[in-house]
């Protein structure tokens, strides 16, 4: 009997729950800001995930094109507000490169930039670890991380007078010299911080629940990582050793010894573990730099009127989140003709729709947390 091969629709969908759409965000405790994820759920399993962004869009690039080169610096603070120092650095580096080597940065300024940049990386990773802990339901690690971050902010405050938006880097150097107490304070902090990392491990790395909640989830294969142009810890967790501090050196990174942690599987655990080890490496870099810190000026000679020669340039640095790029087009005036930011969080977020399906809502939160987005940077 050649009856129907396929069962009727009611039969096929009998055991399946109805599909449900859930808007996760823009007000949701775990979207790390105003991100909206449209989730298509089968029960609790995510079938589709579409991120909607733009809730924090503030015409960053257009504003930049209407300001002089110096005036843009405070706006870059607000890009990735957890790593303002690094945004400053990325931007001033791009402008300095646009001058084609006419601006010489003093040695001491280079060291200060590097020390503050690496401390910023630690602070940023600490926030990440803390909020990731919150996503997994561990509130205690969050408080621990913020305790140490607070100390870094105190250091930054002693340097720049600011705790979040520093605007400390200048085209040609940095705004101020370090205060006298900085070197000893910073060393004291590092001495305090190093034994804290094993303490974090005790409630995260070594905890079986933590392991179970992170291992084997949200696997980002190498090819997807590359085709999405993911960068930073996200890319390194997938097993690709790519760190701009090594691959495209800027500042004085080539003078220091540090490892580049690389993951194996590209799962949430690897992204956690890569960042966790990066903090150790940053501590190493800062320690070496503090030892070598030379005396001298902190501001190089820059022309009164900052008008770079006509031309365009793409300059990139390794921010805590990945490749932070600035593309500048100069028409010879004091304002950039075109100013474009390539933000790592935005690009890394674009991997989410391809790695999210098939996971539970709870894992969705962990995966999103592991990408480490900052909406200020995603939306610009």
């Amino acid at each position: 009997m050649a009856e129907t091969v396929q069962a009727p629709v009611e039969e096929r969908t009998k055991d399946r729950m109805e599909e449900m759409y859930v808007n996760m965000g823009p007000q949701h405790p775990s979207t790390h800001g105003v991100l909206r994820l449209l989730l298509k759920l089968d029960g609790e399993v995510v079938l589709e995930c579409t991120p909607y962004i733009g809730y924090l869009h503030r015409c960053h690039e257009k504003i930049g094109e209407n300001r002089t080169y110096t005036q843009v610096i405070p706006y870059t603070d607000r890009l990735d507000y957890l790593a303002s120092m690094y945004n400053n650095w990325g931007y001033v580096l791009a402008v300095e490169r646009l001058f084609g080597g006419d601006i010489k940065i003093p040695e001491r300024a280079e060291y200060i930039r590097l020390i503050l940049g690496e401390l910023q990386r630690i602070a940023s990773h600490l926030i990440w670890l803390g909020t990731f802990g919150l996503d997994l339901g561990n509130f205690t690690i969050f408080m621990y991380c913020f305790r140490e971050r607070e100390m870094i902010l105190d250091l930054f405050e002693s340097v720049s007078g600011q705790r979040l938006n520093y605007s400390f880097y200048r085209i040609g150097g940095v705004a101020l010299d370090l205060p006298d107490s900085f070197v000893s304070d910073c060393k004291a902090f590092l001495e305090w911080f190093k034994p804290r990392l094993p303490e974090y491990d005790a409630i995260t790395t070594d905890n079986i629940i933590w392991q179970k909640r992170t291992q084997g989830l949200g696997i980002l294969p190498k090819d997807i990582a590359l085709s999405c142009a993911a960068s930073g810890p996200m890319l390194r967790a997938s097993g690709i050793k790519w760190d701009l501090r090594r691959e495209d050196p800027y500042g004085i990174y080539n003078r220091f010894e540090f490892d580049i942690p690389v993951g194996e599987n590209g799962d949430v655990w690897d992204r956690f573990w890569v960042r966790r080890r990066e903090m150790e490496e940053s501590v190493k870099i800062v320690e070496q730099a503090l030892e070598q810190l030379p005396p001298g000026e902190v501001m190089g000679k820059v022309p009164k009127k900052l008008a770079p020669p006509p031309g365009d340039l793409y300059s990139r640095v390794e921010s805590p989140r990945g490749e932070l790029g600035f593309y500048l087009v100069s028409d010879g005036s004091t304002k950039p003709y075109r100013y474009k930011v390539r933000s790592p969080a935005f690009v890394n977020l674009s991997t989410l729709p391809s790695i999210a399906p098939g996971h539970l809502v709870a894992d969705m939160v962990a995966i999103l947390g592991s990408i480490d987005i900052v909406l200020g940077e995603v939306d610009r």
């Binding site: 919150l134 339901g137 561990n138 205690t140 905890n207 629940i209 709870a362």
Partner: protein, 347 residues
């Protein structure tokens, strides 16, 4: 003393021609008021205590202002705030069920206090099915939670309610199976009999496995971390009670802490010898020490629960199910079997 008082009340009512029913009702009201008072005070203390413990675990101070000494009045202030808050019912909600759900949860939590033996004679009703009463009533909580989640008209609440139903069903079974060996050893479901059976040795010594499985299942039963997935803040915002505010929310909140107390009290009764303990200072009455030891043991278990909550991360739904069905249940059954065999062998 209490029995004499009650007896005198009955004789008085007989002389004044008041039907005994009135006296019974009066007694019920008095007992209910005492329970509610005890629960309220105990919950307030527990909330403050949890905040202090969590703060010290996390290198903070916790509440320090309200009331002066270490913010002792914080919970009272919070309670007043919650009572004064606007009572919001979402438009999409099913109004009647929405209003009933917190009452179901809270009333269940209160009813469980009937069988808690605080000391010799200090038990509202020493039911001959005490443990069974606890097990059956404590699973009623989930009805209230499902009602709340379903009637809120919110997808997150609905997910929370579904998770809760799955969780309680999965953990009810290991909970029951792990308390069975105790009943076998004591030969009774009555709370006082179980305590009497622990005169020589606390049941935690022969039944340490049962105690651990019971405690784990109890954590899941009370929706505490690492098993708080029905209200998982980072995933479901607040789960089943996301739409509740003001006093209705307070009822869920109080019920959670009240349940923590009950579940610890049951664990103390079944495994830690109930009110048994040495009289440290001789001149105080025996009853005082009974209550003292009972509360000390219970609050110690609650402390462990709080401690776990602030140290561990949350399990995932499927991991929770696996733990319940594939780990706890086989262990509990194995323990039950071994207990039976040993009891038969030893006669």
């Amino acid at each position: 003393m209490i029995e004499q008082l009650v007896q005198r009340l009955y004789t008085l009512s007989a002389t004044w021609d008041i039907p005994p029913l009135v006296v019974q009702l009066l007694l019920m009201v008095v007992v209910a008021v005492i329970i509610i008072l005890f629960v309220s005070v105990s919950v307030m203390f527990l909330v403050w205590w949890e905040r202090k413990i969590s703060a010290h675990i996390q290198a903070r101070f916790g509440p320090m202002r309200v009331g002066g000494w270490h913010g002792w009045a914080q919970s009272i202030a919070d309670g007043i705030k919650l009572i004064l808050k606007e009572d919001i019912v979402p438009q999409a909600a099913d109004r009647i069920i929405f209003a009933l759900a917190p009452m179901v949860v809270f009333a269940t939590a209160l009813t469980l206090y009937i069988i808690i033996p605080f000391g010799p004679g200090l038990i509202v009703k020493d039911l001959n099915i005490g443990v069974l009463f606890y097990i059956s009533l404590s699973s009623l909580t989930v009805v209230g939670i499902v009602m709340a989640g379903w009637s809120s008209g919110n997808k997150y609440s609905a997910l929370g309610a579904l998770r809760s139903a799955a969780q309680v069903v999965s953990y009810e079974v290991p909970l029951v199976v792990s308390v069975l060996p105790v009943i076998m050893l004591a030969g009774s479901l009555r709370m006082t009999d179980i305590i009497a059976a622990q005169e020589k040795i606390w049941f935690i010594v022969p039944q340490v496995v049962a105690f651990l499985t019971f405690f784990t299942a109890a954590l899941a039963e009370t929706n505490r971390l690492p098993f708080d997935i029905p209200e998982a803040e980072s995933e479901l915002v607040a789960g089943f009670h996301v739409e509740y505010s003001g006093i209705r929310f307070a009822m869920f909140f109080m019920a959670e802490y009240a349940n923590m107390f009950t579940v610890s009290a049951i664990a103390v009764t079944c495994f830690l010898g109930g009110w048994r303990g040495p009289a440290l200072v001789p001149f105080l009455p025996e009853k005082f020490w009974a209550v003292f030891w009972f509360l000390t043991k219970t609050y110690f278990l609650i402390f462990v629960m709080i401690w776990l909550r602030w140290t561990l991360a949350r399990l995932r739904v499927d991991q929770l199910m696996n733990l319940g069905w594939k780990v706890l249940l086989p262990i509990a059954f194995l323990n039950l079997g071994v207990t039976g065999v040993v009891m038969v062998l030893l006669g």
